[in-house]
Amino acid sequence: MIRVIAAAFLTLFPLGAAAQEVIPLTDIGGLHSAYVVPREQFNRLDVQLLVLSGSYDDPVPSGTAHFLEHLAAFSADTYVLRQPRERDLFAKTTQVATIYTNSGTPNEIDRLMKLSRALLDTPKLPEDFLKSEKKIVERETYLRERQFPTRWLRRKALENLYGSTRGRANDIIADVPKLSLEAALAFHAEHYVASNIMIIISGKITPELAAEKVKEYFGDTVKTTPPAKWWLDEKPDPKLNTVEALSSNRLYDDTLVYTKFIEYPVEDTSIDLQGEFFIGVSIFESRIREQLIFNSANFQSISTSFYLAKNGDMEMTSFLVPMPGVSFDAALAEFETTIAGLLDTPPDHAEIETARKRNAAHAISAARRTDDFLAFLENVGSDGLPPISPGTFAQLIKDTSDAEVIDFLTSLIAPAATSSIFATKED
């Protein structure tokens, strides 16, 4: 019987990662865009439907996009089926997109496309079920608030950064009791329109068949004006520099949250910045880590995330855990001083080349795991830009010049709006 398992391995997994081409489809009705990414070596197929609106697009109350995500597919599907599911349905709401992933084998293409197409229809379920899904969203919101303290610390920092509880910031905990079915359905009517939808089909499928299926299931949709991204125009005062102190018994460690808003000039969209973004961020993180983890004894851990919007706005959020005995003020001063001096010795070609290799290794690794591969496609696609696969990423990195990387880093470390939280753990 062991032989059975061993034989199954041979059909399930590739021996290596190959380049993946991202092919745009043209006969797509009114869709924003559609792509196919053939991967012959995997005996599976994934259909990602990206609604190009997420939590940043929330009306009042915050959380409406997330509530609708539940209504549109997750709960609805399970409720309708009323039988054990063979596989779970994956959906998530990010800042700028709501992403539904239906997965199966290549011969299930029609089922996967039907499930995807159905998302554009107004949820049709018993009203009591739709309304009671609000309770589930409440449970989920409170649960995540408790389980992941970085979520609310980040939210508080962004509220201070933008001086708002809408758009790029939110106040989900205050708003969750106000969620309404009416607001969710109105959001569906405005945002779940073809012109605001991207389809990415990846896996064992030919470009021809993918094109045929997109035309079959979405060819009847019509192009309309997509919803406006009003939050792109809301920006903090560049001189802002706030600090808020708080304490909580939810934290394992004292935590310093540092957010920064940087504006990059772009000609059209941030697609032109992607190469220097990935390489520059890699150099930034590497240099920060060398200075504050390898050469300093004052930090227990540091992690940083970046979001580059399609208009060139970038949001940076760092979580720093100072070592016991190191004050927040001292930690913040050391972090900011390190950032300010980060380019005193500009990176030379060798260091930039190392960052390229680091990114390439990451891309190759992502290609080995389906979850990472799909996340790769979603990453840039969520902004309505052409998705980047691990394979096409390699070329992007190669085509970016050293000078472009240094320009990017120079802007990244320049003074800009910041907001910090000093969060003290309570025992």
Binding site: M1, I2, R3, V4, I5, A6, A8, F9, L10, L12, F13, P14, L15, G16, A17, S75, T78, Y79, Q83, P84, R85, E86, D88, L89, S132, E133, K135, I136, R139, E140, Y142, L143, R146, Q147, F148, P149, N249, R250, L251, Y252, D253, S286, R289, E290, F294, A297, Q300, S301, M323, P324, T354, K357, R358, A361, I364, S365, R368, R369, D427
Partner: protein, 447 residues
């Protein structure tokens, strides 16, 4: 044959030791097992060192020590340069503990595997031990208070530590500990290379041996039971209560373990489960109802059911969880759901074996803690492949303990259990206390 036969290597070592560092090493050459190659383009090697002191504080120190050792530099590279070298070459290192052993697993693309092994050897032979890094890692690895963020997985991890390492501290101060890692007692390697001897030699070259094995201390001489009863951690400021019912089970054989795993999955794994259907979709009471099967040792596992609910709802949901559990244990199991779960578990095993060398090494070591020179057979896999709904339901009562044997944790909210519910055992946990406080208190009452 799924696993290739075991090889024995003879290796010479001459490395002198640092005066104060504790040497973690075998006293004889390692036994080597070569398993089938991974199917994701990577090769892997797992070093297995025996644990001598099973007190929890020493386990944390040992893990922090190994983390420190592999985060150091080599004669040719600073610690930072060594980390960068691994990043750009796709080399990763991971640490885990399993039953009696500490495991270090290196994975690397096939093409760079030989130089990755040389790099690993250089890391382990580097005698510089950063006290600062060790202090940082000790903080990062310190046991968590489960009352803080109330993730079921964190609670399970703490309970898993408790049943494997029941002695919290042996009284030895570990703040200034220092370690050197020498010859492992076992090596598990996965590579398409047929002749692995040169590869292994490069990885263990000049690693020191101990003169004699260390005496084993603080290791439980029998599987540890969790106490029965209820642990309640009130938090008036919290509007949510995490319900987690858990049992540390000892199975008669692999068939019974697989039956328990499949039935528990039927109750609460994935969106097709009974708990999802009833507690989430019908009662609208929780977002996260689920079960977990956490393997702790050969023929042993933590079985758990959990849900986070509105604070005043926990009695009703706990009763529902008990009903689902009892119905399943009584054999009321739907064929479609069972079939789905069997397929998913089988795929999960296949995927783990094909891509996760640390998981595979765990399975191998569970079955062969001292290695083997014969054909390798893992009974769990055979049991899973041949399992049927009929067998699982017939074995249900023997595989799954009655719900009354479970320990129930309630974290958050302010609604305490009723007196009747406290009769099997009760402990109130302050938010500032570690979970072990109540585990030890209940255990003492019931001993």
């Amino acid at each position: 044959m799924f696993f290739k036969r075991l090889l024995i290597l003879t290796l010479l070592v001459t490395l002198p030791l640092s005066a104060r560092a504790e040497l973690i090493a075998a006293n004889q050459d390692p036994k080597v097992a070569q398993l089938n190659p991974l199917r994701n383009g990577l090769s892997a090697i797992t070093f297995v060192w025996g644990i001598s002191d099973f007190a929890m504080n020493r386990i944390v120190a040992l893990n922090a020590g190994l983390s420190t050792a592999i985060s150091g530099g080599t004669p040719d590279m600073s610690p930072f340069d060594a980390e960068t070298y691994r990043e750009v070459n796709g080399i990763s290192l991971g640490i885990s503990t399993q039953n009696n052993d500490l495991l270090l697993t290196l994975t690397a693309p096939h093409a760079v595997f030989p130089m990755a092994l040389t790099h690993l050897n250089a890391l382990l032979r580097n005698l510089e031990f950063s006290r600062q890094w060790y202090k940082r890692q000790s903080l990062n690895l310190a046991p968590v208070k489960v009352t803080k963020n109330r993730r079921p997985s964190h609670v399970i991890n703490v309970l898993s530590d408790y049943v494997r390492f029941p002695v919290a501290s042996d009284g030895v101060e570990t703040t200034d500990a220092s370690f050197t890692f020498g010859m492992p007692r076992q090596i598990v390697i996965r590579t398409p290379e047929r002749d692995t001897a040169p590869l292994i030699q490069s990885a263990v070259d000049h690693l020191p041996l101990r003169n004699a094995p260390l005496p084993v201390t603080n290791r439980p001489d029998r599987p540890i039971d969790l106490p029965k009863g209820i642990i309640f951690a009130p938090d008036p400021d919290g509007h949510e209560t995490l319900i987690l019912a858990v049992h540390h089970s000892l199975f008669a054989d692999a068939d019974h373990q697989i039956s328990a795993n499949l039935l528990l999955d039927y109750m609460g794994a994935y969106q097709g489960s009974e708990m999802f259907r009833i507690i989430r979709q019908e009662m609208r009471a929780a977002y996260d109802p689920s079960t977990a099967f956490e393997h702790t040792a050969r023929d042993q596992a933590l079985l758990s059911l959990s849900a986070t609910v509105s604070a005043n709802d926990w009695p009703q949901i706990l009763k529902t969880m008990q009903d689902i559990y009892t119905r399943t244990r009584d054999g009321d199991v739907g064929a479609q759901g069972f079939t789905n779960n069997k397929r998913r578990l089988l795929r999960g095993y296949e995927y783990q074996f094909a891509t996760n060398p640390a998981w595979s090494a765990n399975q191998f070591l569970s079955q062969y803690p001292d290695g083997t020179t014969g054909e390798v057979k893992i009974p769990l896999f055979n049991a899973l492949v041949k399992s049927t709904l009929e067998t699982a339901t017939q074995q249900a009562a023997a595989s799954l303990p009655p719900f009354s044997d479970y320990l129930v944790l309630l974290i958050g909210g302010s609604l305490p259990p009723e007196e009747l519910q406290k009769q099997a055992g009760y402990c109130e946990l302050a938010l500032t206390q570690p979970l072990r406080h109540c585990l030890e208190q209940l255990q003492a009452q019931q001993d």
